[in-house]
Amino acid sequence: MSATVVTVTSGKGGVGKTTATANLGTALAEIGQRVVCIDADIGLRNLDVVMGLENRIVYDLVDVIEGRCKLRQAMIKDKRLSDLYMIPAAQTRDKTAVSPEDMVRIADDLRPKHDWVLIDSPAGIERGFRNALAPADIVLIVTNPEVSAVRDADRIIGMTEAEEKDEPKLILNRVKPEMVRRGEMLRAEDVLDILAIELIGVVPEDESVLKASNQGVPVALNGRSKAGRAYRAIALRLMGDELPIEELEAEGGLFNRLTRMVKAGGQAA
């Protein structure tokens, strides 16, 4: 068995890459997969706090690359799930401390003993992004239904194509169904029309995401959270499960919309 390396990237900052990485890692580990999440955002370490592992850090990614510790020593074991690990980014260095070849080597070292290596890419299109992209078998692009985020996602798609990676898959994050219904927010179909790549999941805007990151507990562990459920569904799709994508189903076609209206009317009466 050899791990699949998944790079989570976006172009634009603040769209939810780190949250997606933490939650997909958690969701995969919860269904018995052996997972390592790597924070590749050198200088702006964040995956540790989202996963609630910030107090356990001794060594980081750059320590491994520069030979100050073994790879195993930089892998921090999750508090809750036994087969989930996180490798933190260095906080006091910058992107030039890592090369694309370093990332390929580390990913290859991790492959034999794990099922998934998830890499949290930094924003931007420079060195840090190239480092994160280098070892990827699968590229996941996170975007929001917003003009600037979609534009940057398009740039990143072009760059992954230039690196001859397989076509990236899209996570549309922070969707507000109510705004979509009013025609005030791009719907998943619109974004797919524009970007022309495959959708792997739609994550609704959900207060529980912020609450979860306040507590350092990935929202995928919260059974009642809509966003958590969406991340668990994406994890299953990564495993090859052909789960239908909810938002598209619910918003698709006039007929569906009308039936939903009738249902909503019936409930109100």
Binding site: R181, G183, I194, A264
Partner: protein, 86 residues
Amino acid sequence: MIIDWLRARRGGSAKTAKKRLQFVLVNDRAGLSPAKIEAMKDDLIAAISRHVDIDSKRVEISLTNDRKKQRLVADIPLATRRQRAH
């Protein structure tokens, strides 16, 4: 609910967002800004005018995008002077 649906059909800001994105991405993908396209248009007019009279004011160059294929489309009307056969 029905009011929402009607409003969505008439087109809220999402429609504008989609149109703007489609426009800006056509330029982004080709690495051609509107200014560059203008400059290219001037070059084209000059080059073609050396061979045939064209209606240079009505020349239009546009980038189109059908999913994955980018296309540069030039519409170059000839000056309307019918050649008389001798």
